[in-house]
């Protein structure tokens, strides 16, 4: 699957890492993929979990040494919109 969009969240810290990813996902249609370039450690541990909690699917996760030391590339597939509202 070819990602529809790509973002690099390495310059950001939590919670902006997830905020940026979520906004990018909001702009996709269900079933489309987003490639996220992130740093190993906290973002790599937490981002896939946050995405899964909101119904998105982790398609791939792999080191991306060509992008710099500690860089990882993950691909998320947008899930069905959740029931939102309060």
């Amino acid at each position: 699957m070819i990602p529809r969009a790509r973002i690099d969240i390495r310059p950001f810290a939590c919670p902006l890492t997830w905020v940026k990813t979520r906004i990018a996902l909001e702009r996709l249609a269900e079933g489309e993929a987003l490639e996220v370039l992130l740093a190993e450690g906290e973002p790599l541990e937490n981002l896939p979990r946050s995405a899964a909690e909101e119904g998105h699917r982790l398609l791939a996760a792999e080191p991306a040494p060509a992008e710099g030391p500690g860089a990882w590339r993950i691909v998320l597939v947008k899930g069905a919109p959740r029931e939102e509202g309060i």
Binding site: P15, L16, W18, V19, K20, R22, I23, E26, R27, R82, E84, G85, I86
Partner: protein
Amino acid sequence: MALSERRIARHARQLLLPGMGEAGQERLLAARVRVVGAGPVAGPALLYLAAAGVGTLWVDDPDPSSEADAGAWIHPPDGWGRPRSAAAVEAVREVSDLVEVGVARPGARPTAVLVAGAAQEVARAVAEEARLLGLPHVVADADGEGGAVTVVPVGAPCYACAFRAGHGAEATPAATAQVGALAALEMVLLVSGSVQEPAARRIEVVRGQPVARATLRLPGCACAGVAARLAP
């Protein structure tokens, strides 16, 4: 109206709330809220509306501030005697440079109205004006150790339908702040579209305990006619 990087960073945690997201935050940014009142109920409401990312705030209260505004958060003692509107505008600018804030001018076209701590007859008149203009509105008043926040989405049963007399006691400073903050929250929910089908309701706070009641239209109330005309 796309969000800038600064706005995304400023409102990062709010952007993650259920129902908010980028679209909700953009609706807040596009909103122009007229706030009637700039006293102890309005002060916290203004600051929280600015903090939430409402794009434009117009403050409407020409009366001079006084010692009675000591609990308003936005009127320090050395400014007592100045028009409340002007002082409120300065106070809001101090907490956020991302909001357009000014004194309300005749002819300005808000997208929503908050009535905060106004006299009862003023609250009724402004709420009715907002209803006739098809603007969502929130009316907040403090009373003793609590108060009430009435939320009126477009076309919903009106403020008069929801009204219940309070006991009329002088409000404590904490009660005014609590009611003002609650009014800001309700306005944010209304304007951001976080609630998919917002219902008219009145939240009464009695000694810190909130009780929300859905507003039922009073039989024969004029708001039924306008609501029918506004319905798609």
